[in-house]
Symmetry: C2
Subunit: 356 residues, 2 copies
DNA sequence: ATAAATATTTGGAACGTTCCAATTATGTCA
DNA sequence: TGACATAATTGGAACGTTCCAAATATTTAT
């Protein structure tokens, strides 16, 4: 087990050139003679040289660490896992490396990991902020010239780029679809009212009602935790209503699954007795029974898009804050009562699952 | 937008001490006077100082980067996402940061990301190797004193620590359970025969048959890609057999889902007409219909365990290669025909899903 | 053959930190 | 008070790289 690190000086010595030349070779400079380059490369291979990015980075003083930080609030949720995969794809092929951390919705943890990433000299950050993140939290980063892209949830007031899905349009299409199926009383279930995403989706719900010529009834909006348990709770309240709804759009798929659970607990079959549509199209949505009608948002695409945006800013050297909202589409399956999927083989996989 | 970085020298100047003192404060040394420490800290806060780990790391020459690399072969698979979460948990609370990369089963990508991580000076690596990874691939790392822990898949011949689930025992219990249900012809479906994991699981299958007093029939072992599609293919072959099996243990959950698909395509209801059990207990397993009976391996636990192991080695400074196999347990649900779950509310969530 | 141009190589100095040995301040004991 | 121990501080040197200005080698044109 060799103890000493191999440095450019060792290489230089062994190849009979100066360290500067070795450095030039490292950077692929065209200044160096072809023969020298070959020899240096050979020696590097022989001695098992590994480049020390830390040292290089120190000298260059610029933000050329080639590390980009990714912070998500729940990696366990396949939505975010996919997002991370999307980011990794473009980041990797651009020769960057990704720092990935999970906050589990904890603001403190988020602060910690962001600080840590900063110490490590990330050249950019992609973050899906934890709930109730202060918009000012990322101020120091951008002030230091480190581009930040906020994804999935937007951060009103923060002067950073962001990329969110078109929550409003998604809800509009969901509501219109239900209305088209003949539903007159459509509830909006789940989600915490204090978030920007909630506001957007609720606005979409109202727009959708309007477009379908239906009235908005305040009692049909029932918020809850954006989780499966929250869904159970919300549908419970909805059913207890005097004039109960016959359909619901849900804040997200987790809520929708909970709503299905709650319906079954009351001997109602989702799809047949009550129409439910979700939002996100998480991976489980198509495999569930009944398969969930939901608004597909392509998290991997968001990840890719966000990463591209970030890289662009890194390369440009200046962080021009831009906001993009990505298209979204309703995928009709069974839970809204409209799907007529064949019982077997009919469902096709969106992507190949690789086992392990 | 301030251009210049704040360094310890700036702090020193502003606080009226020397850079050495500032450094001492940074390291929490007890040598420095309480008053001085307070002042320095105050100044650091005022000037918005951020520690430059790169520089520190350079000086210390040791592997104290506090970065640990994590490489998985399919982040999209919730199994690995959970694993990463487990790793992140312990790594984060130990004050480390995780580099996460996805190889998508590509050996080249794996080589690339590992090289890149090494350049960045990771202090340790946790890897779930891509298929057909050469055991020698990690030799240089351990030679350089960088501990490596291989998870999920083992790498025979590599002198690194590894942690895999008890594949054999898992299969034994699955087979015994099916035999206890009265099945006499139990197939083993899916998986590529050239992997160590396959061998282990197959061995468990044989042991299980033996323990149940059943004969082993070669034609009942049908390999295929370890994916949903592979499962469809395998069950097709199984059903075409002269004396067809009445139950199957599958290489993993993805295969099991495929087997269910294939059964339905032939108007057979999984659980009722044919018993199927999976392996892994991926997150979708309990939500599927029928809920999948499977062998639970707790990927998050493996992640945590692996991270602990790695940290131990990092701290010890020496990489004592150890191998641990983690316990596994059969969770009986509906797909084996034994489950009698109440139709509603009966299924309980293993964990709370947080929406977004 | 020589000047001018071009191609290639090269020693420092710097980046921001930590470590070491050495220095200065403070306290204690006789 | 002096001598000594102890507490606190400090100025370089080093880590492995890149950059710069300058030096040397090679061509080309005359």
């Amino acid at each position: 087990m060799t103890k000493a690190r191999v440095t450019v000086i060792d290489i230089a010595k062994a190849a009979g050139v100066s360290k500067s030349t070795v450095s030039l070779v490292l950077q692929g400079s065209s200044l160096v003679n072809e023969a020298t380059r070959a020899k240096v490369n050979a020696v590097m291979r022989d001695l098992g040289y590994v480049y020390n990015r830390g040292a290089a980075n120190l000298r260059q003083a610029g933000a050329k660490s080639r590390i980009i930080g990714v912070v998500v609030n729940d990696l366990t949720n396949s939505f975010f896992a996919e997002l991370a995969v999307g980011v990794d794809m473009v980041v990797q092929s651009a020769g960057f490396v990704q720092f990935l951390s999970n906050t589990g919705e904890s603001i403190d943890r988020q602060r910690e990991v962001v600080a840590s990433m900063r110490e490590h000299g990330i050249s950019g950050l992609i973050v899906s902020p934890a709930r109730a993140t202060d918009a000012a939290d990322f101020k120091p980063l951008v002030a230091a010239g480190i581009p930040v892209v906020v994804v999935v949830r937007n951060l009103p007031g923060a002067k950073v780029s962001s990329i969110v899905s078109d929550n409003r349009a998604g809800m509009v299409s969901a509501v219109k679809h239900l209305a088209g199926l003949g539903h007159k009383r459509i509830a909006f279930l789940g989600g915490f009212p204090d978030t920007a995403v909630f506001d957007d989706r609720l606005a979409g719900y109202r727009n959708g009602l309007e477009a379908a010529g239906l009235d908005y009834h305040e009692e049909l909006v029932i918020s809850s935790a954006p989780s499966r348990a929250g869904g159970v709770e919300a549908i419970g309240k909805a059913i207890a209503l005097g004039r109960r709804p016959t359909a619901a759009v849900c804040f997200n798929d987790a809520v929708a699954f909970g709503v299905c659970d709650g319906l079954r607990a009351r001997r109602l079959e989702p799809g047949a007795d009550f129409a439910v549509v979700g939002f996100d199209d998480v991976i489980e949505a198509q495999a569930a029974v009944p398969a969930l009608t939901t608004v597909s948002v392509d998290p991997q695409g968001i990840g890719r898009r966000g990463a591209q945006m970030l890289l662009k800013q890194i390369n440009a050297g200046k962080a021009e804050a831009e906001t993009v909202t990505t298209a979204v589409r309703l995928v009709v399956r069974e839970s809204c009562g409209a799907g007529k999927t064949a019982p077997a083989m009919g469902r096709q996989e969106r992507k190949i699952e690789t086992g392990r």
